[in-house]
Structure formats: structure tokens, C-alpha cells
């Protein structure tokens, strides 16, 4: 505990002055139009993010978190919150968005700006920012206010989403919207079937559902490791007897794991794995 106290306090002292808060990006409700302010704005840095979101912080840090600004608004009976995450660079913001977006919820809210939209929540990445606007009631069924809030804040964010984030898996024909960039060992646990895959030396990965000619889409992971030996080691424990649903192969620093629970025809599976390994 003593070591922990020292660590916590030193981190607070060292990193708090580094927290940035650009209030112009989360302006007052009046500046946004037709919203009222609720409470004071808050901001957090990498050392204090834990105090805001507890164990959820690790994933954000893994993706390249820099600072978080928060502001609460209301409109009518809707209590809203805007969480603006400043990330290391546009790729980090887009990667985090890919991890957090909801299934089958993506739509274009502005030309070139795709967002994950549900009645209680809008998520998007723009430039080096990841924005989450939510109704404080997670069971809210009316999404007009939260949608307008997200659009008005997004208009103030500079930059575009980077291209090429999912180039390494493009040849495999991923289902649009299913792609997830895996930034590290924590986000590598995004699916239970990935549990037997080794984390040692893991650098980055791409997870997606892939269309095949013979069956429903299958999920596959493309993972890059620090060395070819570590890539081999990562999939060495996955055997036909221990995990019959998984097909694995490594080549150089890259490993590919396919979750074949839908029993794709072997030739199509081989073609998919080859395309993912050779890019």
C-alpha cells in the first residue's frame, strides 16, 4: 500500500499540470444553442482518468489517451453528458472508436463523419478526438437531443479520420463496420475465443468479420508480434484438439486466427487466411 501511495501521489503531482482542457471544444450550452449547462466542466489526465472511470481507464490508455474533457448539459427533461477524449493522434482516436462503436449502429451524421448512433448515445472520432455524447439515462428512447449535441460539438472538432487504418485486412473482404483495431493486450481480450492467443510481444491487431463464399461471415484476428518467434509462440498452444473451432497460422511476425465455428468450406478458409497473411 505504501508503494501505491507514493506512486499515486507522484503521478498526480507530475501529470496533473500536463492535463489540457480546451474549453472551446466543449462550450457552454448557450454557445451550442438550446442547451443549458449542468454543473462545472471537468477534465482528467492519464494519472487521474482512473478516478473518473475506474478499471475502464486501462483500455483508453492502451489506445493512446492524452486528456478527457467533460461537460454536462440539459434540454427539456434530457440530462446529457459530453465526454471529449483527446488522443495521441488521429489514428489513436479512430482506433478507439473502432473498439467502442456499437454493432450495426453506424451512420453518417455529417459528410465524411461516421458515428455510432443509438437513442441514448452518439460516438464518433474526428481528428485526434474521440467524442461520446450520452443521455445520462442509459434507457432513454428519444435520441434527438443527444444527436444534436454530438453534431454541434463535432462541427467544432478539426481534422478528419485517417485512412488506411484497416488496410492490412482489406484483402480479406471485411464486413463494413465490423473492424476493430486492437491496440494492446487488454483490448486483445475483446472476444472469449481470443483467450488462448498469447499476449507476450503482441504489438497490434485487426479483428473483423470476413465474408466468405460458402457461409456466414467468420471472425478472424490478424496480429503482429515483436518477433517471428513470439508470433509462433502466441499460437503454439492452439491445437486442433484443444480448440477445434480455431484455425491458426503464423508467418514472420504475423499470426492469423480464424474462429471457424460456422464451418466454412476448407478451401475458402485457406484462401481467407492466405490473403490475411500475405498482405
Amino acid at each position: 500500500m505504501i508503494r501505491g501511495f507514493v506512486w499515486v501521489l507522484v503521478c498526480l503531482l507530475v501529470t496533473l499540470p500536463g492535463c489540457s482542457s480546451d474549453s472551446s471544444l466543449l462550450p457552454s450550452g448557450e454557445d451550442l444553442g438550446s442547451f443549458a449547462d449542468v454543473g462545472d466542466p471537468e477534465s482528467y489526465g492519464s494519472a487521474t482518468l482512473y478516478t473518473y472511470m475506474n478499471g475502464g481507464a486501462e483500455v483508453f490508455l492502451e489506445y493512446g489517451f492524452v486528456a478527457l474533457s467533460i461537460r454536462r448539459y440539459s434540454r427539456g427533461s434530457d440530462q446529457l453528458i459530453a465526454e471529449l477524449f483527446e488522443m495521441r493522434d488521429p489514428s489513436a482516436a479512430a482506433s478507439l472508436y473502432s473498439y467502442l462503436r456499437r454493432t450495426n449502429a453506424e451512420t453518417e451524421i455529417r459528410p465524411g463523419c461516421r458515428a455510432s448512433v443509438t437513442p441514448s448515445e452518439v460516438l464518433l472520432a474526428k481528428g485526434r478526438y474521440y467524442l461520446a455524447c450520452r443521455n445520462e439515462d442509459p434507457l432513454a428512447t428519444r435520441g434527438v437531443a443527444v444527436g444534436e449535441l454530438a453534431e454541434r460539438i463535432a462541427d467544432r472538432l478539426a481534422g478528419d479520420s485517417p485512412s488506411g487504418l484497416f488496410d492490412p485486412i482489406r484483402m480479406g473482404n471485411p464486413v463494413p463496420g465490423s473492424e476493430i483495431f486492437i491496440a494492446g493486450p487488454i483490448s486483445l481480450r475483446v472476444r472469449p475465443w481470443l483467450a488462448p492467443i498469447g499476449e507476450r510481444g503482441f504489438e497490434r491487431g485487426w479483428l473483423a468479420a470476413f465474408q466468405t463464399l460458402s457461409a456466414r461471415p467468420v471472425e478472424a484476428l490478424v496480429a503482429d508480434y515483436q518477433t517471428a518467434a513470439l508470433a509462433r509462440e502466441a499460437v503454439a498452444g492452439v491445437t486442433a484438439s484443444s480448440h477445434p473451432e480455431l484455425k491458426v497460422e503464423s508467418r514472420g511476425r504475423r499470426a492469423v486466427v480464424v474462429n471457424d465455428s460456422t464451418t466454412v468450406a476448407p478451401q475458402h478458409l485457406i484462401a481467407l487466411m492466405e490473403s490475411l497473411l500475405t498482405h
Binding site: M1, I2, R3, G4, F5, V6, W7, V8, L9, V10, L12, L13, L16, P17, G18, C19, S20, S21, G39, D40, P41, E42, S43, Y44, G45, T48, Y50, T51, Y52, M53, N54, G55, G56, A57, E58, V59, F60, E83, Y99, L100, R102, E121, A132, R134, E136, D137, P138, L139, P185, I186, R189, V190, R191, P192, A195, E199
Partner: protein, 391 residues
Amino acid sequence: MIACREPPSKFYFQVGLLPGLGRRPAGEEQAETNVRLGSRTHIDRMTSGSRPDEQKGMAGLTRRDLFRLSAGSFGLLSASLLGACNFRVAACKSVPPNPFVHAGQPLLVVVEGEDLQAMLKAGVEALGGLDKLSSLSREAVFRGNFVAPQPYPVTTHPDFISAVGGILRQSGFRRTVLFDSHGTNLVASSSPSSIMGKLGVIGKLTGSGVEVDVRDFLERTEFQLVRNPAWPIASPVGVHRMVHEAGVVISLPVVKRHGAAQFTCALKMHFGSVSMADRIVTHKNEGSEYLDQRLVHFADTARPQLTIVDARTILARRGPTLTAGGEVVRGINKIVLCGDMVATDAYCARLMAERDPTFSVQMVARQLKHATELGLGTADLAQVKIVELRV
């Protein structure tokens, strides 16, 4: 070796961490809300805490906050280094064996329904009543999950706490106290009652008969260092004295996914029972067995006699907050009552796996195995007497 020349209290005193130092101007205190703190009254700021003429700067802190934080941190740093030998490491609290058993097997009661009061009443009756707890003490400490200022199922619902308090009073308990430690007075935006305040928990529990006791997570003297020689990690854990010294602890978790630990329910929620330093160090060590083992050790320090899980709604896919990407799943409409934390988690992990395609019980197998090895309970549901009711 560090020589201990001064008791830690002197360092706390010097830098303003003892009551009376770092005090706010008198005018501010009029706007504060009193929160009952056991036998004493704790003044806990419910406002943002900054004077109108103060500019909030980086990290939402005023210059005064930064000064306080700097001074306080230096003092705590000093106290940590110099006062180490003044803190005796004790054994984990000793509690009687699980009182809720049937033919030698832990009893786990699941009640499905729509009426919370009726569900709790039926659940307690199926446990055989709470006399075995009230005979230990007529006062109970409640532990809830207040991880973030977000409503149920991210946090424990105040109506649930109030309803459990009512059941306990009917069972002969004279006093029930909801304890939590999720903030510090050193940072205005993260005060000890900040989360409960934003959620309206304190207001909702006022008049319900359940007292609220929120403590500063940097009040180091309020934590008792404990260690169980059976832990594979040798360093002690600082458990809050409110939990360590309570005659009866009743845990009121929610069922959620968790970024690093994958799942949080009966075991993981005792992160909130130990010092912030232990929590941070443990999260910094995740990625190995350390996190899975340590969260079990934290539960070992708390040892609630009864866990009552509010699984009417759960947080699936991500967690432990909505910010982390959690998805609210409604319609489960169950509560789970059990004196065995491990069996509770084994059952609730199964509930989660049935509704979250990104989760499997295997993801928490290491936690459950370690908890079983330490004697906290059983993860084998075949060895548990499960009673399922519908009201």
C-alpha cells in the same frame, strides 16, 4: 532502511490533512451538506468548492486545489516513507463460516420478479432469515458499487439499498450504514461524496433509515494493513477500517463487464473496500495473474457475510462504466442472495455469458480458482444448493 523519527500524524498535521487544516472559508461551509459518519458528523462538500473569484484551470482544478493537492501529496509521500513502520500489519478479519448453508452446501437463492420488495422478502425467507447475522451484530455495513457518476446498472441503485435496509430492520438490525470511499477532499471535482452526490444517492437514502458514510481515500490512517499468509503476493493490503471492524458486512454488487478484469460482481467489487493506492497498483499490474489474484485478496479483506446482487439489469460487452462502452441489458429481473462470494460470481458470470456474446465464464476461471484455493467459497455450482424462485 528508513528511520521513523516522527509519527505519520505529525506529517499529516503539517500539511493540512488532519481535520481543521486545509479548511474552507466559513462562508463556504454554509453551503455544505452534512453526511452522517457513524458516531461523528463529517462535513463533506457537495458543491464544486471553488469561490466565484477563482478561475478553474487545468484538470478542472483551482489554484487552491493544486496547492492543496501539492501540499497534501508531499505530506502523504513523506508520511508514507517515514511512517511505514508505525502501521502494524494485521491478519485479515476473522468471520464465522458461511451461515447460509443447506446440508453442508452453500445456499444460493435466485429470485425472479418485478416487485423488488417482494423479491427481497422471498429471498431472505429462502435463506432462512437473517437471525444468524443479527446475532453477530445489530449494525450492518453495506458496500455498494459507486465506481462512477452513472446510474444503475453501473452503480448500485439507491432504491435497492433502501429496500435491503428495510428488510434488515425487519430482521432486528438497529443500524445500517452505506460505506464508500471513492474520492478525496484534495480534489474538488472528486470529493468523497462526488459520485453519490451526482447520483442523488445521499438524498434518496435520507429518511430511508440507511445512513451514508463516505470517506476520503487518501485518509491513510483510516486503512488497516492486513495480510493473509496464504496469498501468493506478499505485500499487505490496506482495507478500510469501516469494513475491517464491522460486525456484519453486506455486499450489494451489480453485474458488469470490466475492461481489465473482464467481469465485476461479488469479488471484484471489493476494490472499493481497499485503499486507492492498492487499487491503482493492482490495475497497473494487470495483464498478468496479478490482477486476478489481487482482486480476490481484496475480497478476502472484506469478507462480507452476505452478498445480495441486483441483477435485474446488467452491463454487458464492456465496462465497468458506460464511458468504457458498456451496454445496458434489461429484462433479467433477478436478484441473487448468497453467503458465498465465489459461488455468487460463478452463478452471475453464467448470467452474463447467457446475454453477452463477447463473454464466457472461462474468462473469470482464474479468479474463481484462486478464490476457491484461498477458501473464500466454491466455484463449482454442482456443490451449491441453488434455490430459484419466482414472485
